[in-house]
């Protein structure tokens, strides 16, 4: 199991799994945000130059100030924790207890970017992210926020294929059931050779005769509860 999962126990007593995002996707999102910001500035520059060129200095300085400090705050509070960069990469800022990020948390985490920058190119922030279990930089630690991956919406329910269900020859633990059903659902994305290679690993589940892959797929279909004779 990947351990980049932060679990939150909700008042309903259920465990929510949050997949925290590491430095690389966050750096990517930061890069995209930098480009978006530059684009805004360029558009503003052109706009101001065409309409009120004598106020160009003042307006641009103010815009730079707002952009430097408050661009992320604005989007995190008003756009469900996603700046344009984070939205592109599929990340979201939330608080550690699973609730949405609010004004105070967003302000704190973004002001502390100045501390994460030390000594340059966010070195301290990267170190903090590497050390902290939830990939939190200094701003996240002080504000109690996390950056998580947003689960992509599945295009359609995964199919286990039209394989005849087959009861497993041995009792399986929950982990093992998960592994088999996971394989069954994702098998169509593997090449045949790869699928065979993986199926061959589950030695107790397939006998010496017949295709290992077919047997494992059959067991997966059985576990998922597919009715015999055809797909759902």
């Amino acid at each position: 199991m990947l351990d980049t999962v932060h679990t939150v126990e909700t008042p309903e007593g259920v465990q929510l799994a949050l997949r925290t995002a590491g430095p690389v996707p966050r750096a990517l999102a930061f890069g995209v945000d930098a480009m978006v910001r530059s684009f805004f500035y360029s558009v503003a520059l052109v706009g101001v130059a065409l309409t009120v060129p004598h106020l160009a200095d003042a307006l641009l300085l103010l815009l730079l100030f707002l952009g430097e400090w408050f661009y992320p705050v604005f989007f995190e509070v008003w756009n469900q924790g996603q700046t344009p960069g984070k939205k592109t990469v599929g990340l979201r800022v939330i608080r550690q207890d699973g609730t949405r990020v609010n004004g105070s948390a967003s302000l704190l985490r973004n002001l502390l970017l100045a501390a994460d920058w030390i000594p340059g190119t966010y070195a301290l922030g990267l170190v903090s992210m590497s050390v902290s279990p939830g990939f939190q930089r200094l701003g996240d630690l002080a504000a109690g926020t996390l950056v998580i991956h947003v689960e992509p919406k599945p295009a359609s329910a995964p199919e286990a294929g039209d394989v005849a269900p087959l009861a497993p020859p041995v009792a399986l633990t929950l982990e093992e059931q998960r592994a088999v059903t996971g394989f069954a659902e994702r098998a169509r994305f593997f090449s045949d050779a790869r699928a065979d290679e993986l199926a061959a690993l589950a030695v107790p589940l397939h006998g010496p005769s017949g295709s290992a892959r077919q047997r494992i797929l059959g067991i997966g279909a059985w576990l998922l509860g597919r009715p015999s004779g055809g797909p759902a």
């Binding site: 307006l59 100030f65 609730t99 501390a115 689960e151 069954a184 998922l224 509860g225």
Partner: protein
């Protein structure tokens, strides 16, 4: 119950829940029954986790439950009341941190005054702190013989100055705050450095005989700007001090709690620096106003800031 049968039985409900979520996420109403639906989805998630159903189903339910959790437990932000904040909440927050504000003031003004008194007569001191170009720049700014004195400045230039001061001063103060996370040392260092800077410049200017232009210029916005710098330093120390002395909490938790308490001070000091930038841009360098008037107004502003922060939000002891 096998996964297939479970999915078929519950699919309808999950679909309805998703519709409700979509409505809430677009800030529309979702009708009644959302909390009940959410609880049922949580039950389904717990069940799916427990029975070891396929990861795809568990992930889907997990995502639904997370979205529901965020909608149900979203903190309704109290309506922002800027007047009440500035008049009561902010001064009260500043007074709560009176000890740290006092320490920050001592570090800042104390250093400045100390340097002024000790090295006021030594002409070489300023060159230990600033480069000759910077010193020349200062002298040019405050020399009464300089050509820009006596000529009124354009409003547009005032606006540019205002924008420059906004970006420069607020940026410096926010960085002062942020660097406090290192056990308050960053803020402490910035306060001392700025105090040193101010002391050295004031001493040099006075020795050159430009005091008559310097003090009327700085006294106007000084009340807001210097106080804001001191507050930024105090907020930074408040942020970082729990790293060293967390009390009864875990260090990170203590920092988090302290950070939340600094937020009102941050909003307030940003507002103060905006006012300071306005004054500095439009009033302080205005050549048509006499120096005496500027000094008088400056004194009044200092008194105003002191009264505001000292008395704002106090309840009458009846």
């Amino acid at each position: 119950m096998k996964q297939q049968a479970f999915e078929q039985a519950r699919e309808q409900h999950w679909h309805e829940f998703e519709t409700q979520l979509a409505a809430l996420e677009s800030r529309r109403k979702a009708g009644t029954g959302f909390p009940e639906s959410y609880r049922l989805v949580c039950q389904d998630l717990a069940l799916a986790q427990d029975r070891g159903f396929a990861a795809s189903l568990v992930d889907r339910l997990n995502a639904l439950a997370l979205r529901g959790h965020q909608q149900l437990y979203a903190a309704r932000a109290a309506r922002a009341r800027p007047i009440e904040f500035l008049a009561r909440t902010f001064p009260a927050a500043v007074r709560r941190e009176a000890r740290l504000v006092g320490i920050a003031s001592l570090l800042f003004y104390g250093t400045a005054i100390l340097i002024f008194l000790l090295y006021g007569n030594d002409p070489a001191t300023v060159y230990r702190v600033l480069s000759p170009e910077q010193v020349a720049e200062f002298e040019a700014m405050y020399d009464p013989e300089a050509p820009h004195y006596g000529a009124p400045r354009d409003t547009v230039d005032d606006l540019s100055a205002f924008a420059f001061y906004v970006r420069n001063n607020i940026g410096i103060s926010l960085r002062t705050f942020a660097w406090g996370i290192f056990a308050g040392i960053g803020s402490l260092a910035v306060l001392i450095l700025n105090g040193l800077y101010m002391g050295v410049v004031a001493a040099h200017i006075t020795r050159e005989g430009f005091a008559g232009t310097f003090f009327p210029f700085v006294i106007g916005h000084g009340s807001f700007e210097l106080t804001a710098i001191v507050l930024a330093g105090a907020a930074g120390m408040k942020l970082g001090w729990p790293l060293v002395a967390p009390g009864r909490q875990a260090r990170i938790a203590a920092i988090r709690r302290a950070a939340l308490e600094t937020v009102p001070i941050l909003y307030g000091l940003i507002a103060m620096l905006l006012v300071a930038a306005l004054i500095e841009g439009f009033w302080s360098s205005n050549q048509t106003v006499a120096a005496e008037a500027k000094l008088a107004v400056g004194d009044v502003l200092w008194l105003l800031v002191g009264t505001w922060l000292g008395l704002g939000g106090r309840r009458r002891a009846d």
